[in-house]
């Protein structure tokens, strides 16, 4: 479970995140929504360790991880994806996944030169695992293509695939659905649900596609102007006046009520 407590982050004069606190319960698929500029991505970057907050704490299973760099949080089981796919373009799709597992002995130069047998054995295992992930994501047919040549949606799947190469416990997904066509989006939602159900992944998802959020997420946390506006099930949130106002402005909220 991940908790953020009283996080504040300013960029110059802008308070991007302003005293924001919420929890992602273990085993949940928590949605994080809010209008553009609400501070969702900033908060995500803070939770993942890509940004340091001005104040406040980030807790993973009750332990304070605020000061841990991103790569160490990864080894605690906290993994993220990026809104804009961060694929390694000149590497094959398979290599993109094989990169991820931690502690590969072949990542140390002396092992590669002097303990080649072991490096090779591990490499075979990592390759098998990457193939399984590609099969799960229905990307087997592009295994040996360069990642740069994938479509936008396939790159999104690859992002998700990287999290599956780990012993992840908590996965932060930054707009997994953006730019993905409907068919692929269906796959993606299904994959997320299967990972949650079968492998016990906890997800926290930023998303603008309300259908996807409604389909997957419970609870849903709504952010506006850097802090949490409200949270609850999608139905509760959908009818919350403050949320409608934040998204659509005051007049619209009234109209919606009247309608």
């Amino acid at each position: 479970m991940i908790e953020v407590e009283n996080i504040v982050k300013t960029f110059g004069g802008l308070r991007a995140v302003d005293d924001c606190s919420f929890q992602v319960p273990r085993g949940s698929i928590t949605g994080l929504i809010g209008p553009n500029g609400a501070g969702k991505s900033t908060l995500f970057n803070i939770a993942a360790g890509s940004l340091t907050p001005d104040s406040g704490r980030v807790l993973l299973d009750g332990e304070d991880i605020t000061a841990l760099p991103a790569y160490r949080r990864f080894h605690r089981g906290l993994v993220r994806t990026f809104q804009i796919p961060h694929e390694f373009g000149r590497m094959t799709v398979l290599e993109n996944l094989m990169l991820v597992p931690g502690g590969q002995s072949g990542e140390r130069v002396p092992n590669t030169l002097f303990r080649f047998g072991r490096v090779r054995r591990e490499e075979r295992e990592v390759r098998e695992r990457a193939r399984d992930v590609l099969e799960f994501l229905r990307l087997t047919h592009v295994s040996d293509e360069l990642a740069a040549s994938l479509s936008g949606g396939q790159k999104k799947l690859l992002e998700l695939g990287r999290t599956m190469m780990t012993e992840a416990r908590v996965v932060l997904l930054d707009e997994p659905g953006a730019g993905v066509n409907r068919t692929l989006l269906g796959h993606l939602a299904e994959d997320i649900r299967r990972l949650n159900r079968d492998r016990g992944y906890t997800f926290c998802i930023i998303e603008h596609d309300m259908d996807l959020i409604a389909e997957l997420c419970d609870p849903v946390v709504v952010m506006a102007q850097g802090s949490v506006l409200t949270q609850g099930t999608m139905d509760e949130v959908r009818h919350n006046e403050a949320v409608l106002e934040a998204y659509l402005g005051g007049g619209a909220a009234k109209e919606a009520e009247e309608a």
């Binding site: 790569y71 993220r80 390694f88 000149r90 990169l99 990542e107 590669t112 490096v119 075979r124 390759r127």
Partner: protein, 321 residues
Amino acid sequence: MELSGLFSYFVFFLSMVSVYAVLVLGLNIQWGYNGQLNIGVAAFFAVGAYTTAIVTGPASDNYLGGFGLPFLVGLILAMVVAGLLALLVGLITVNLRSDYLAIATIGIAEIVRLVLKNEGWLTNGVRGISSIPGPFDGLSGITEGMAYLVTLLVFVAGVYWICERLFRSPWARVLRAIRANEDAVRAAGKNVLLFRLEAFVLGSMFMGLGGALYAHFVGFVSPGAFDPMFATFVVWVMLIAGGSGNNRGALLGALVIWAVWTLSSSMIDALADIGLLPDQLATQASALRIFLIGLLLEIILLTRREGLLPERPPKAIDRAD
């Protein structure tokens, strides 16, 4: 030119190509694998050459020397000292993005050059260190040259083998990923700075080895031998023309560019000899050579943007070749 002269020229030519091949393979680890813009190749080249010159060279009242260590020890120490310099530079600059690293390494190269020039007690200043022994000094003329060429080729093969093995390893996979997107590598739990430092140090150690091999080949080192044109620019052109990220490309680049570099000079001399080139122009001909290399680089980049042998994803290490 008579036949034996041609042959010894050929031996000399291939020896220089071999020295450069080691330097280019070193740079390929830094730039090709990892995208590090090291514009200070000359520094590591020179440090390697001077290290072996000092530890294996003759005693002198004017500068440090007279340790009389054997050839192989000289090479190892050259790699160690170049590696230590790289570690020192790397710890300071490893956080820098490519263009800032470029500026920092230019500075380092300049500092090294000035130290070599001015710290006479250590390096004999601008006069340089001469009479550096070779491993085959007992042999005569061309036989010695050939024996040393074979030694050089063995070193090139060894360094190439190591570079290829590493290129196909998870280590270089991380380096190539860092080159593409640092943040994503960090998000995959890798210590980016450590990997970058390793690549910088290892590449520089090979450059130091190249310098040591060069010193024993020519038997004389002076600060002038390591000016940026000869010791940095040409190495970069070799890698880019040959194909960065491809070890075979690095070897091919060393061969092709050194051929153009030396042939252009012979051609200019020949033109001057038969009077086709006015004396006045002949003296400026070395500038023409740099122009020719630049032109060739432009042509290669326009027609084959990724070099003669472009980078390819490596063959799986767990499969038979």
